[in-house]
Each structure stands twice: as C-alpha cells, then as structure tokens.
Symmetry: C2
Subunit: 361 residues, 2 copies
C-alpha cells in the first residue's frame, strides 16, 4: 500500500497485460514497448489485453523508438515576471502550430532549482530545452546538454563559451538612447536597480551573472562615456528582489552625499517596487526624480505619470526561441515573421512618456 | 536518420549497456528497470556499464515501481494573466518544500488545448494534476481523471457535479461589497466586463462557463437586489479578450440610451484594456465613469487614479491547491498557514482607492 497513492486504483502493469493475454511478461513488454521480436499473433493478443485493461502506454519507451515526445521544455527565471509570461506565450504559439506541447518550469532565478529542472525535463524526455539561465557561471548542467547534443536554446541571456543558440533581444542601443535622453536633460548621476543578486561579482561595474542585465548597464555606460561623464559604479545596485529590499536600496542611494537624480529600473517588477518606495517617501516623478524602466507590460502607460520605457519585443523573442529549437529538431516551422532565421536580431526601442524631467535641484 | 534529431548523438540503449556488461538484453533491462530477478553479480555489471555509457535511467519504468515521479502537473488558463503567475508561484513554493517538482502547461482558456494538456501530463506521469478548467461543461477529460482515481485538484474554479477538491477563493462577499459601495454613491447602471467567451451560454445573466466569473456576477446581483435595483443583463458583457474587443464592448455600452455610470472589470488584464479604451475616448476615472477591478497585481495602486479593487489572496490559494494535491498523495505538508485543511475558505477583500465617485450626470 505504501507504493500506491491513497485512494488511487492500482496502475495496470505489464504483468496484468501479460496474464490476460496469456503470454510471458517479457513478450508483453516487448510488444508494448515495440522492441525486439514478438510474433504477430502474440502482439495482437497483448495489444487487445492492454486496451481492455486500459493500460497506459509507456510514453517514454515509445519515444525511444520514434525519438520524439513532441514536447518542448522551457525553464524560466520567474514566472511572476511579465517578461517570462509573455515570452512563454510566444514559445507556445509557435510550438502549437508545429504540433508540439510546451512544459514549463520555474527556477526562481536559483541555479540549484535550475539544475533540478534540467534533470526533470531530461527524464520527461522533452525533445529540446529552452532555458533562461540564472547564472552565466554555474553552467555545468547546460554544458552537459551541449556535450550530449541535447537540443538547447538559451532565452533572453547568452553564456560566453557555451555554444548554444540564444534568442535574445539587442537592448544596448535603446538603453544607450534612454540614458542619453536623461543626460540631455541634465542628469549626471543615474542609478540602476536590478533584482539580480550578484554576490559581489562585478567587473568594471558589470554584473557577471546575467547577460541581459549586463547589456542594460553596457548601454548606460556607453551613453555616459559618449557624454564624457565618468560612471559611478556605486550607483549600480543589485538585489532589488522585493519591496523591502528595493526600499532599502533607494534609501541608501538617497542618503548619498550626491544622490542620483534619475533611476533606471531593470524590469517591470523592479519598477513597480521602485514606484512603491518613491510613493512611501512622498517623492514625485519626474519633479523630484526621473524614472525609466525596461519592458512595457501594458501597465506602464497608465501609471501616474505614464512611464518612459525601453520596450522589448518579448512575444516575438519567445517565438524565435521556439523556432530555433524546432529548427534544431529539423521541424519545418510555418508561419510569418521569422526574424531569427535571417540574422536580424530583435531590437528594443525607447517609448517616451512622461517620467523624465530635468534634475530636481 | 529520420528517427534521430539532427546533430544529436544516438541515445544509449539497453542493448548498448547489455553488450558492454556482457549480459543478455533481457537481463540488462531487468537490472535497469529494477524488476524481476537478476543475480547480484550481473546487476553490478549492468549498473557499471550503464554508468560508464551515461545511460539515462528510464524514469517512467522506475516510477512504475515507486508509484511516484514526485512531480505535480499544473494546467492554467492564461500564463500572461498575473493571477496564474502568482498562483503558480504559490503552488511551486509548497511543492518545493515537499520535494516535488512542478510542470506547467498553458491552455489559453481553450478546452481542446486543455484536453491535450491532460493527455501530456498523464503521459509524463505526474503524480497529481492541478487544473483551472476552461469550461464547466466540456469536462469529460477531467471526469475521466476522477473515474480512474487520478489525483486532481481544481484551481480557481469549481465544476458542479465533478467530485474533485477545488482551491477557490470566496469572492462573493467582496464583490457584493464593491457593488454596494457603487450603489451608495448613486450608481444604478453598473456594467461588468469579462474576457470569458460564453458563446451565449448564460442563465439569468450568469455565465455558465467559469465559476469564478459567475461568483463575481453573483455578488454584484446580490448587492443590486439588496438595494431593490432590477439588474439589467445587457450590462453584463463577455469576450473582452484584448484591447480591440474591449474597446468595441465599451463603445457599445456607452452608446446605449442608458449608458453605465460605473464599470467592473473581471480581472487585471481586462482592467488594463478598459483603461486603454477609456483613455482613447478621453474619459476620466472617476469624474466621467467609476471603475472597480478584481485582483491586485501590484500595479493598480500606481495608476492614475489608483484603482479600487477586490483583492484576492492568490498566492495563498496556489499554496492551498498544492497542499490539497499533496494531501491526496499522502504527503506530509509542512509549513505554516494551512487554510485549506481547516475548512476556512480563503476570502477576497475590498481595497478602496480613488477610482469611485458619484455618477457623472
């Protein structure tokens, strides 16, 4: 009984099928698993018995013959972040058109969970994995997929030295443009807040963990350099994972001798927490401080004030990720707007609303 | 070659392992599948060969012995809707503490896709399924799970006549309270907008498809009745699935001889589209029209004006769903705040902000 879920009928086994068919268990297993030699007569007996008993075919054994489960596995960093919901929708839309199902796992941006997720998807024998890696350094599990030729596509983030295709959006020019706009308004001290936890791993102010965040910063630094402004790495802040931490970080920034006059939020979740922190301090945007965010989830245009954002084609990027995975599998991908196949990397663009103004003092 | 994914190394098979171990294939299969008799000596030879070749254990065969894959399958209506992202996070948090992985599939609120999703999860042998059913009527696939004692928990929605536990939030009292507040301000014509597509299936104004939407309406009707206001079923509108359809519906409502003076949006996605439709028509909230929404995703307090909402404990409800599923499986669920076990149904509550005012005219 310990092996049987409470109240659940016992699973029909190969032994049950063999008994009803009047054949040996090995014969039944071969017939059901479609391997080895079974006489046509016995095969039919086994299949008839299996149907009568409601034996659930062993999908795994079957897939080892066809080589396919027609399932894509997707591993995302944070399912509560609109970015991943939207990208997953893009993946699913393309996969469904190709007759593929999509299975999703969430890592909470935790590498240990990601390693477990890869294990689960390997055991569930998905045909390919689409992964937004939580770390660019703890990547042995992804390297192992590459080494064993397990189809892998990276989502949103690249990993240096890992030869896997990546569906990523070029965000650097738009990040640079947004920063240049702030500089043109007179801002010199522009802070950046990200949920990324770097554990102190930065290099020249660039977080070493996640390429998509590094690219945001890279664009900001390029704009500062072009304007001859020396970047202040103390204005780059990480670990804004919730309201409390974001509020704490904002408090630290505002207590500096030279506080920032503008804030750049790394994603839609961060900017929501930044809005809360500003509101609780009675700070107005843009009169007291300017604010730019990445992503455009549909809410940013209705906030008070409407937010200037770097908008990303997230759904299209998800579609590209699915196309890349299916292409590795040799699946013909029908449908319109295939950007990934033409070497045209998707690009983000600046959407100007009302959250930028001149520095307060 | 047709059976091998392009560029992918051939899978290590039982035959390969048997050859290296110097045993028969049936013996290797028994040792690897942990069934039948194998001498200890041969078993060790097989396992050593399997390890050396990197043979991936057949999770399915293994699970047929333990009866468990330690995986929960979750089927949600719309992964882009914050509700489901948040609920899924709750499910995952509890599952992870119990050592269970969570696999997620999205149906786009499409029953055909839901049927396929149940098939996929059955084949992946998840131990239990948590499903937000897209329909309360096309439920044969869910009835089949119940009939075969496959552990099933419904999420967010109940199905009359289907004896499966449901993790649902009691939203009726808060919906009634929100409507009573509107009535107290002087509103008599209060419209309701939902993304639900009813295909005309309503009964006394109640959509027959989804219980959580029916409960919203039920609360509204109770408040109207208590105030002696005869409900106008033409003010209940469905199919607000995107900006265009929501804009069209709002246009129809506003062109009525007696247009609504207040709007109730069924969820956070709908209210975003309502805000867009109001903005494009130059209508101000609450001066021109009052607005209430269900859910509180974190953005509603920062819109212009901040929105009055019926807030639901979505994360806690996801946690409850996971606890119910694990309890069916006989898994001890540690952790705090177990509401589901005590018959205390989670309840929604009204959060008053600034989107309600007296009727315009």
């Amino acid at each position: 009984m310990a092996d049987t879920p409470a109240g659940r009928q016992r699973e029909v086994t190969v032994t049950d099928v063999a008994r009803l068919a009047g054949v040996g268990k090995a014969t039944a297993a071969r017939a059901l698993g479609e391997y080895g030699h079974v006489s046509e007569e016995k095969r039919e007996l086994v299949l008839a018995a299996a149907e009568r008993l409601g034996y659930r075919p062993n999908e795994l054994a079957r897939s080892m013959n066809t080589g396919r489960t027609r399932t894509l596995g997707v591993i995302v960093g944070d399912i509560e972040n609109s970015y991943f919901g939207n990208a997953t929708r893009g993946i699913t839309d393309v996969a469904r058109r190709a007759g593929y199902d999509v299975i999703l796992l969430n890592t909470d941006e935790n590498v240990t969970v990601e390693i477990e997720a890869v294990r689960v998807l390997t055991e569930k024998r998905v045909d390919a994995m689409i992964v937004s890696p939580a770390s660019a350094y703890a990547v042995d599990h992804l390297q192992h997929l590459v080494d064993t030729n397990y189809p892998l596509v990276l989502l949103d983030r690249t990993i240096a030295g890992l030869p896997a295709p990546a569906a990523v959006i070029d965000i650097v020019p738009a990040a640079e443009e947004a920063t240049a706009r702030l500089i043109a308004l007179g801002h010199r001290r522009i802070a950046f807040l990200s949920a990324l936890t770097t554990d102190g791993m930065t290099f020249h102010g660039l977080p070493l963990g996640v390429s998509s965040v590094a690219e945001r910063i890279s664009g900001m630094l390029a704009a500062l350099e072009a304007a001859g402004i020396r970047p202040d790495h103390d204005l780059l802040r990480f670990g804004a994972v919730d309201r409390a931490s974001t509020d704490r970080i904002l408090g630290e920034l505002l207590q500096r001798d030279a506080p920032p006059t503008a804030l750049v939020a790394s994603d839609s979740t961060v900017v929501r927490d930044v809005l809360a922190a500003l509101k609780s301090r009675g700070l107005r945007v843009p009169a007291d401080i300017s604010l730019v965010s990445f992503d455009d989830t549909g809410w940013e245009e209705f906030t008070d004030p409407p937010l200037t954002v770097v908008s990303q084609p997230v759904h299209a990027n998800g579609e590209d990720a699915a196309r890349m995975a299916l292409r590795i599998l040799g699946v013909d991908v029908l449908g319109t707007g295939d950007s990934a196949g033409h070497g045209d990397r998707l690009t983000a663009h600046l959407v100007e609303r009302s959250s930028l103004g001149p520095p307060a003092s």
